[in-house]
Amino acid sequence: METEMMRPLLLLPEMLLAGGALAALIGGSFVPRHRQWIIRIFTAIVLVATIVAAAIQIRSPATSAFDDSFAVDTATGIARILAASGTLLILAIAADEIAGSARESETYALLLFSTAGTVLLAGANDLLALAVGFLLASIPLYALIGLAHTGAGAEAAMKTYLMGALFGILLLLGVTILSGLTGTTGYAELADRLAGAPKAAVTVAAVAVIGGLMFKAGGVPAHFWVPDAAQAATATAATFLTTVPKIGALVAVYRLATVLPPSSWPLLVAALAVASMTLGNLAAYWQSDPRRLLGWSTVSQVGFLLVPIVAAGRSDLALPSLLVYLTGYTATNIAAFAVSAALPERRDLTDYRGVAAERPWLAAALLVALLGLVGTPPAAVFVGKLTTATAAWDGGYAWLAVVVFANSVLSLFYYLRWIVPTYRQPNPGNPDGGARGPSGDEQVRPWSPRLAVTAAAVSLALGVAAGPLWALVTGP
């Protein structure tokens, strides 16, 4: 009886996000520019409501909505909470950066739309729902990047758009092949019917769909837009697009992987993981712009996040470890970007010289965030790296666990390139390396430093309190 009904309340968080986005868009045009903070407050309220709704729902047993096309389970619940919390935190950067700017309320609407798309992507239990989520999560991104109104921003938006179009088509191609082979788009039937389908066709389709999702995740081979966008977009957009869409994309890859026959995807995902980690790390080495360095670092992080997916279906740790890593990554990555947002004038690593002496809390947040991204205990990403590597080893991919830790060592070097100048003594004799940043009079941003410290503290707390977090991600 109940399964016959649509049960729209199951999608309350998504409806809140989409409805809130529309309301922000329309409401923003009626609010004068100097009062656009009203829309920001409204956006925050929408996000808090989304988190509350998702948190209530996560306690009930797993189910699905809309004719089994959208899964409402622990993974979706965690993705909803993470995506909404991430966007909520990013509003603090926006409060510093774009308050009173020409496109403020539009930005909030775009953030909400993209968050809704991310959540749809995470819960998609049907190829068509997956395609809709992909488009809803992607299209607002192009605009978000373009809002920077700079030459580099336009280039980054164009690059993202072209990559998005290409990989979107690739994803749709894979969807077409899979539904053509099986006559269905629902994951439940796909799993049954793909067993008898021709192997080569299934593999091609798996490559196409997973490859398409790599665009959203920002992983190899669809990663080229990430460093450009991270560098050229506003800090608000850069933080958002390197954090939130990944949540949906990786959960979506996980769901898809559990459906496809195991002959077609584990090696592919393992190869993408190794390529993303290694390429991201190597490319980050010689970046001098902190934002661009973080952009490449997120490419490598996607590689780490793909590791547990390789073990999907082979190890009980696969899904919980993915969700734990995503949680830790969200907090830690936002903390690192928030530091760069707090010091917007310092766009070269050498400009960070003396920051520790001048702003010890901000420097401490940077230290926790960057060492956290390396996987230094007890920060949350360490727990994620530990459990994902364990999951891979447990699933028969011991070499992948070794690659994970080898890459962690590789990554340490470029994170240290940022930490080292931060903890150097300020050098007042040298105007370029002075303590006051390159421009001499640094603008004071109140919210980003607080966000950086908060997010870094959250990342530490999640690692220390890994027990409750683990209990949460393993579901009721």
């Binding site: 919980p320 011991a398 830790f405 890994a466």
Partner: protein
């Protein structure tokens, strides 16, 4: 109780970091006070300590941490950890007293060292592999900032080298830990459980690979030849207290891992690879001593003698893997000697590095060629340095003699060929005597002119360390009574 001991310094560190209004003097004395209280608490634990039954830990505490991978906050002490915990607290107290004069950001300095103290104590009481790893890694981060923030010379480069090298080792260690976890049935990271039912028995290839990862991680930290290259620059450019902690405490994290993790959890692989360990140990002994002999920088010389002294430990734990029925007693003696050496080396090298710091403080150089006849202007300094040197070269009546005597008695009985390592003692004796002669005897010249003798705080930090070494050397029984049951137990476990 143990949790209090571990986290008391950390709480003090956070307080020091978070309350900027505290004056520098308050910060320095807070560090001394906290270190003293912590040592007092440990003395209390020692007084109430009864040797736990094999496979169990005294004062154990356990709480769930990451239940999904069976990792818990599990701590406790036994005959291996208790002496090292005590030694750690002694060295940090000595460093706190020594640093009472620290002029460069003393508040941050004290906070950093208190943090390091928590990390070091936590490592030695950890009874869970992941907990062990957490402290292992954090010690690297802490020491990086000690060298980069308070060192001298080419400190940024030395600190970076230290960080990258030991971090690489730590991740190899983590890979090994995960291997143990995956192989264990049921999966767990709990140390006593893994030691009770060692995984990978009867799987020589997998066991060998996992042991190789763990050995690599521990060998870098220890350090043994050929993984020692990070150590001399780190020591040369670190501040005196940093060197004392690095050599006294942090190096023991590697050797402690051998007796705590590698031997009991991978007995079969350990036996199979025992000769490799022995050869590495002998190489470290001879090579470390020879290179130390060639140094003119006092600090580098002491750093290389650390490689030599760690070599004795490696040799002893390697010999423990040469299982034969009639050598059980000898191998137990060797392992007990190894643990005694960990304590002894901590005390003596800690003292020597603090004394070397006095050279840098007064004259700004460590080079022996810059000094001469130092005994005349600084007789107390000369006396203490001579005592430290003699203790380090293994003179009877000092802890080093007890340790090395046991190591060689055990090793030579089990494998006569290891007697070649005795050569190391001879070279060490030569190099220390030569150093004493170059720096302290002859006409007062160079930087020795106008050299002020030890001040009270220097005397009060170095003196107790050497006195303790003397106490262990004269009355080793209380220490050995604690160590020996654990050494017997681990040799028994190796026989499985």
């Amino acid at each position: 109780m143990l949790s209090l001991i571990v986290f008391l310094p950390l709480i003090a560190a956070v307080a020091l970091a978070a309350v900027p209004r505290l004056g520098d003097t308050v910060a320095r004395w807070t560090w001394v006070a906290v270190a003293a209280v912590d040592l007092g608490l440990i003395a209390l634990v020692w007084a109430r300590y009864d040797t736990p039954p094999p496979g169990e830990l005294a004062f154990a505490e356990r709480a769930a941490w990451i239940p999904g991978v069976n990792s818990s906050y599990h701590i406790g002490v036994d005959g291996f950890s208790l002496p090292l915990v005590s030694m750690t607290a002694v060295i940090y107290l000595a460093c706190a007293v020594y640093a009472l004069r620290e002029r460069h950001r003393p508040r941050a300095h004290a906070a950093l060292f208190l943090f390091l103290q928590s990390v070091s104590l936590g490592l030695f009481v950890a009874a869970d592999l992941i907990l062990f790893f957490v402290f292992f890694d954090l010690s690297i981060v802490g020491m990086y900032f000690v060298i980069a923030g308070w060192g001298h010379g080419n400190r940024a480069h030395s600190a970076l080298k230290f960080f990258l090298y030991t971090f690489l080792g730590s991740l190899a260690l983590l890979v090994g830990f995960i291997g143990l976890y995956v192989a264990a049935n049921p999966h767990t990271f709990d140390m006593p459980e893994l030691a009770a039912t060692p995984p990978l028995q009867g799987r020589p290839v997998a066991g060998g690979l996992v042991l190789a990862a763990i050995l690599l991680g521990l060998a870098v930290k220890t350090p043994t030849v050929p993984f020692h290259t990070w150590l001399p620059p780190a020591h040369t450019d670190a501040p005196a207290v940093g060197s004392a902690v690095l050599a006294g405490v942090l190096l023991k994290m590697g050797t402690y891992g051998f007796v705590r993790i590698a031997m009991p959890m991978l007995p079969q692989a350990w036996r199979a690879w025992a000769w490799v360990v022995i050869v590495v140990g002998v190489m470290s002994v001879i090579y470390g001593a020879l290179v130390a002999l060639a140094q003119s920088n006092v600090k580098r010389m002491i750093a290389y003698t650390s490689v030599n002294h760690m070599g004795y430990i490696i040799l002893a734990v390697g010999v423990a893997g040469l299982v034969a029925a009639d050598t059980t007693q000898a191998r137990s003696v060797a392992v007990a000697g190894a643990v005694t050496q960990m304590v002894s080396h901590g005390l003596i090298t800690g003292a020597l590095f603090l004394l070397a710091g006095v050279l840098q403080d007064r004259a700004g150089t460590y080079d022996m060629r810059d000094f001469g006849g130092l005994a005349a202007p600084a007789p107390t300094f000369a006396a203490l340095f001579a005592v430290g040197a003699f203790a380090s070269l293994g003179l009877p009546a000092f802890s080093g003699f007890i340790a090395e005597f046991q190591i060689f008695t055990g090793s030579v009985a089990a494998a006569p060929v290891t007697a070649v390592a005795v050569l190391g003692i001879l070279i060490t004796a030569a190099l220390f005597l030569r150093a004493l002669q170059r720096v302290f005897t002859g006409d007062t010249a160079g930087s020795s002119v106008g050299f002020t003798d030890l001040r009270a705080r220097e005397l009060w930090s170095v003196g107790p360390l050497l006195l303790l070494s003397l106490a262990v050397g004269v009355l080793p029984r209380p220490l050995l009574d604690v160590i020996e049951p654990a050494a017997h137990a681990v040799v028994g476990l190796l026989g499985r």
